[in-house]
Symmetry: C2
Subunit: 301 residues, 2 copies
């Protein structure tokens, strides 16, 4: 396998990982990322981890570049053919300290198979502990603006895919207010490859800027013990999504990836309470009511 | 489908659930179980939940009796035929308050398919936050004594199956010191059915007695903040096992079971720390060293 294209994508993604770390560090103010290089049989990567900052309790911005064998089982669950693969991507989750600040997640990835097939995938989604409709509208508008620069069909299509993907079927609730999600975007030609690469790069650029703006807006808001407890409960849901439903986590663990890097998606702490039901009319109940598919966040009242 | 046998098993299991609650309540001393009856399309159950006791932080002893359709996908992953099924069982996990006390889990279950096939499954396993070799030897000896009353092949076979089942492949570590695990024990005739039913009943009887003895032994031991933190980290592993690997959890959620009851297996609280490595020679390191398959706990030095 000749990964000339793949290696170029990897290089560009890696420099965007560095850029994202810089922007998030500036927004966080006090704490820097530790960069953990890793090398395993499957490939290499750099896990940038920030723990116990002033505004951010745990942040991971991972870059990886791996190659291996897509087993029959893995191929089936992904709707692909088995064979050798090359994959590179950035994957990031930021867990804020304050319950008033949302969790954010971004992933962009590029795959190549030995038969020459290749595709891009990725997404950005926002998981507020407390839904703020204005913030959700702004967030979706930012994503739409970037999408529209590339293709007017992207935002509506990928917004819908995010609703379907970031969904806890066992809870019948979405993970948060969604965002965009796409997979298996196969370039038809060179020009198309450049367009898709630029699109994923634009998202990886937007991501830290979005979060810096949110942190600036929300980090200083006061909060109570009750709000902190609700944050811990919502983090429990985040754990459930990542371990039960997330395809990237499953693919990573099944393909022999770096477990500690993959599970950087876990929150620093989570709690579970049996049949916890927020009171009618409470902010927590309002948030649960908003965890639904097909909400037009940009135009919602 | 005529569930005459299944309904009898359900009745016997339900009375053992009640018995287990009584014994655990006596050992816990201050806090009682809440009994939560539930009825869904798929069937009914009783989730007995004890939260924030003196010795037990969270305990669940669930009984359920459900029927539904084994889809092709579920059938494949279980090595079974698709079709209507009836299932009943007790499933329990006890999370102690003290890090010096282990987590324990027990499950016994009975399945019937519409073509007349039926089988028993189950197991008991112990997950110490700190491995105590004497306790592990005693625990395994207790299981062996019950197994031996039914069949001398049971303990060695099912001990090995527990090693393989209660295993976090992504961490290359066992969940704890194991125990026994068995599945698809299909009765060949009436006599065999009675033997297998008695075997699973004997395990459901033994279970609360084991834990009452452990609580008596260990609940009053002093512990530090460091030991409490280690407990929270090990609880994170427990979450990972249950959501990534446990077939019962997956079957329950996939078949439309009662999510809140199924996820009673979650600990009250868990933490994750990136690349946490206990110091060489520490009790935490010793515990990690013991999380391996094929340890003969009864005879180990």
């Amino acid at each position: 396998m000749d990964h000339k294209r793949g290696l170029r994508v990897a290089e560009e993604y890696q420099s965007l990982q560095t850029r994202a770390c810089t922007i998030v560090e500036q927004a966080e103010e006090t704490t820097k990322f530790d960069h953990n290089e890793w090398n395993k049989e499957i490939g290499s990567g750099n896990s940038a981890v920030l723990q116990e900052g002033k505004k951010i309790e745990k942040a991971a911005i991972n870059f990886s570049k791996v190659s291996g064998v897509y087993t029959e089982e893995m191929a089936k669950s992904a709707g692909m053919k088995p064979g050798k693969f090359f994959a590179t991507g950035i994957s990031s989750i930021l867990h804020p300290r304050s319950p008033m600040v949302p969790i954010i997640h971004m992933n962009v990835r590029y795959f190549e198979l030995e038969d020459g097939a290749s595709w891009f995938g990725g997404g950005i989604d926002l998981t507020p502990h407390y839904i703020d409709k204005k913030e959700a509208a702004w967030f979706h508008q930012q994503l739409k603006t970037v999408c529209d620069r590339f293709d007017l069909s992207y935002y509506p299509d990928y917004k819908k895919q995010a609703d379907d993907y970031f969904f806890l079927s066992h809870r019948n609730e979405t993970r948060g207010v969604g965002g965009i999600f796409f997979d298996h975007l196969q370039p038809k030609n060179n020009e198309d490859f450049e367009k898709l690469l630029s699109f994923t790069k634009a998202l990886a650029k937007l991501y830290p800027e979005l979060y810096a703006a949110i942190l600036k807006n929300k980090s200083e808001l006061p909060f109570t013990e009750r709000e902190k407890q609700w944050q811990s409960l919502r983090r429990g849901r985040y754990v459930e999504f990542n371990l039960l439903h997330d395809r990237g986590t499953k693919f990573g663990l099944d393909s022999g990836g770096n477990t500690e890097s993959i599970l950087l998606s876990m929150p620093p702490m989570a709690i579970w309470k049996y049949q916890f039901e927020p009171e009618p009319g409470s902010a927590e109940r309002e948030t649960l009511n908003g965890l639904k598919k097909e909400i037009d966040w940009i135009h919602q009242k």
